[in-house]
Symmetry: C2
Subunit: 166 residues, 2 copies
DNA sequence: CCAGCGTAGTTGAGCGTTGAACTATTCCGC
DNA sequence: GCGGAATAGTTCAACGCTCAACTACGCTGG
């Protein structure tokens, strides 16, 4: 949080407050999302030593043919700022799970490369991760509800980040 | 993230991997939730100087008759650890938005009290907040989709935190 | 009435994130 | 090919969160 408050103008007119039903929908969505994300992250972190953010980095790298990716592409894929990713990759490098390599085609660029040790760490964490996703999400929802989280998610993504929606 | 990895046993049997459809539902849910939460927090923070976490604290206090609440109750309401809330209240105290007061009935307890300045800050931020919630969530979704986020949210909450579901 | 245990809340150290400033390289127009 | 703008990535300082240790108070049984 920054302390610089830009004095942007209020939108014109009276705010469109949420009515009672909208409040309930908003609160249910907010708390459930926060709690699910939090539990998944804690469970994964405590049982494998890999936070959800780090796990996503390892997954992204593992899914490329050469197990390497440009830093900025990786940042985009992981919903991470470049600064955050740079720090994270440094810490993964200290663990020996990722190494940096200058990009041949672009001297400014760096490639993050998943090491064999990193791949092994990912293999160890993946069962814990999928178990968590099932326990906190899929096992609680009916087939219709699973369909609707996908539908809502893709609808929101079309606005938030169109390139990410299939 | 802690470095202490408890060597908990793997669940027996082969992990129940996600199939292609489940992957799509999971990714859509995950990315949309992260992006919506992130945008709301950034927008609120940059336009009002109040992060979403702090906003929730102010809202919780403002909704009580006396604009005060026990620290632990406040922590529960805000999905916060006690330590986190204690730090947050200290920072809100520095801004003059909250003050601490020893609890009359329980000498161990502290009450967080919303000041008039804190209430004014909340009044300033509320229109920005509700505008964000509409822009990122309600304005993108049909009435059926709004119903379904509530339904799914409450279903998940019944498992995650039964007391929070109406 | 006090010892021991449980509860409420705080503190401190370490790690992670943020945003802005910075370096290095490439791209573009002339 | 050269000067300036744009892009890629890193670094730094400030802040926030986590976990564990700690203080302080209340409760309960003997």
């Amino acid at each position: 949080m920054t302390s610089s408050v830009s004095p942007q103008p209020l939108p014109p007119g009276e705010p469109r407050w949420l009515d009672a039903e909208e409040q309930k929908a908003w609160r249910a969505w907010l708390y459930s999302a926060q709690l699910v994300l939090d539990r998944l992250d804690r469970d994964l972190t405590h049982r494998t030593g890999i936070s959800h953010a780090y796990y996503e980095i390892l997954v992204a790298l593992s899914e490329t043919p050469e197990r390497m990716m440009r830093m900025s592409e990786l940042a985009d894929r992981c919903l991470s700022s470049r600064s955050r990713l740079s720090h994270a990759v440094s810490r993964l490098e200290e663990r020996g799970w990722v190494r940096r390599q200058v990009c041949a085609e672009d001297g400014r660029g760096q490639l993050a490369v998943l090491t064999d040790e990193g791949f092994a760490a990912l293999e160890g964490a993946a069962p814990i991760h999928v178990e968590g996703v099932r326990r906190e999400l899929f096992d609680r929802l009916s087939a219709e509800q699973v369909q609707s989280i996908r539908d809502v998610g893709e609808t929101l993504l079309r606005h938030l980040d169109p390139d990410r929606v299939p």
